[in-house]
Symmetry: C2
Subunit: 339 residues, 2 copies
């Protein structure tokens, strides 16, 4: 039996990217005619067929769900997987997890791997590189083969499929409203650089809430962090040089880091300023003081994604209508905010 | 094409456990003759063959490694996966992860799922239930089919295969030695109940270190915790009623919980007592004070396990000699211990 050639092998042989191979096989005009011909000839020679096992097994159910996530050392993704597992088990499905490590190529390779007869459908959150490239060929391909895909958290409008998200802007807005209701007006923001879409949305929510409450935006209170490893200087400078009574951080690492640095500088949370973080992970629960946080409800998100996928897999007829479910967030009040 | 019947389906049809089906198919005398005959007849009728795809594909490499771990919302397992991913990627292998959720049945099902042509070999850590049952048929089966298995952390002597572990007893011993070298003699222990093997080994290391240093063992300073959710009373009672100057906790949740409870009771770590935890996770890094901890080197463990598996997969001849690698632990000094 001759070994099946993969996208990855074609890319390596011809010294082009996986994306180029994928687009060439679809005859995309983004790729030069010369390259397209070369790729197509090679694919023909080695009998490449896109996910050909998947095609032949279209009616053979594996009762397995493939999950592709960017990373695993991340409490949020781990809780989403737990939620997916719960619903999968309740319905007699197995779950297989692959990691993209934030790489486009690995996302494509994993998708090809799992689409080759191992799974009935996918639940996925996009890698950073895929979002930057805006290349979703691999996802569109499995969908066109009849394998449903549900995206969660990091999604794109460029692919028609079911999606589960939280309303990041509204969640941040609610956190700021909480501060305002406690009488705070000098509210600082620790956020990411703008190309991280969820960071951007949370920043937008912060700005909107301030505007809606007639609070003037003070750019000196907004700190954008590119690299969590080297953020101490920026946060220390904020704590030492600026006057604020509350701080909203767009993730829990920023929140806990600001509390630790304040401590070192002789300031106390929540006596000197209150802190609200984002993502209800174990850091927020176990830090001292424990951290008030926007809960993303990862378990609920995973459960919903699994339910949407299984519903679609078990429906007799194909349904062309896709839905986007918005999971409600809520504020978990803890010691880092005054009551 | 007729669908292949699985162990799980046979178990469900005949209303027996997966373990019973597996043993019956191997003609094990642990199972009554009546049940064995019933299972074998059913299996024959439905043309069951153990991992028959795997057998036929023995010479077809998938270049994929299957990982089976007990749970994912656990920093240690997540870091091991990262280590495996690193070495797998360096060697052109893909990685697929399945979770047993601490269930024997799920471990068996996942193994069967992945052995059906999806992977070349396995890296796994046993589920609690598998360790309690001491039933390793499913693992012996894939090994006998020529698929190598590497076990890490939670391993068993009952299966011959490559293993990667840390020396839990020695690691605990070293932590206590550190306390003794700082002049502490009243050392408390927060540990698990004895049936958790790693907890037991760490307790043994604590006891041995005390004995070797001529320190009398005080049972009042040893607290065994069954349930992390309901451990506060026991720990508070230790802090309020006992006199000790150092505390060793066999995991980071116990360590951080004792620090928080001490705080609530008006005691300060490390001024009133020093704390060393186990597992260098994000809680230890980000708690206030940050926690001195025994690092299990999950990344290193994952890298080593992946290297052992890939070496075995790429060797021309079968090697009957298995090795057990011991990963060195080290103490990461932080604020919870006096310097």
């Amino acid at each position: 039996m001759r070994k099946k050639v993969t996208l990855k092998q074609i890319a390596r042989e011809l010294d082009v990217s996986i994306s180029t191979v994928s687009k060439s096989l679809k005859d995309s005009h983004e790729i030069s005619e010369d390259t397209r011909q070369k790729v197509q000839a090679f694919a023909k020679l080695y009998n490449y067929k896109p996910n050909n096992i998947a095609l032949s097994l279209k009616n053979k159910k594996t009762k397995t769900i493939g999950i592709i996530i960017p990373e695993i050392v991340h409490h949020f993704f781990a809780t989403v997987i737990s939620g997916i597992e719960q619903v999968a088990n309740e319905n007699g499905y197995n779950v297989i997890v692959c990691l993209s490590d934030e790489s486009f190529d690995k996302e494509v390779i994993n998708m090809e791997l799992l689409a080759n007869g191992s799974t009935d459908g996918f639940i996925m959150s996009l890698s950073k590189e895929t979002m930057q490239k805006k290349d979703f060929h691999h996802i569109q391909e499995v969908i066109s083969q009849g394998m449903p895909v549900v995206m969660f958290d990091r999604v794109t409008n460029d692919v028609f499929c079911d999606k589960v998200i939280i309303d990041d802007q509204q969640a941040a807005y609610d956190a700021i409203q909480h501060f305002v209701s406690k009488g705070f007006k000098k509210i600082a923001l620790l956020t990411t650089v703008d190309y991280v879409s969820v960071g951007k949305l949370r920043t937008d929510g912060y700005l909107k809430a301030l505007r809606d409450n007639g609070i003037k935006i003070n750019e000196d209170l907004i700190v954008k962090i590119e690299d969590i490893e080297n953020c101490s200087n920026k946060i220390e400078s904020l704590i030492q040089n600026q006057d604020f009574d509350a701080l909203f951080a767009v993730n829990e690492l920023f929140a806990v880091t600001s509390i630790k640095l304040a401590n070192n500088l002789g300031k106390k949370v929540p006596d000197d300023f209150s802190v609200i973080g984002f993502t209800d992970g174990i850091i927020s629960q176990f830090s001292t003081p424990s951290i008030t946080t926007v809960s993303q409800n990862g378990i609920k998100m995973g459960r919903k994604a699994a339910k949407m996928l299984i519903d679609r897999l078990e429906k007799e007829e194909e349904d062309e209508l896709y839905t986007t479910e918005i999971i409600e967030t809520n504020l978990v009040l803890r010691e880092s905010t005054t009551t």
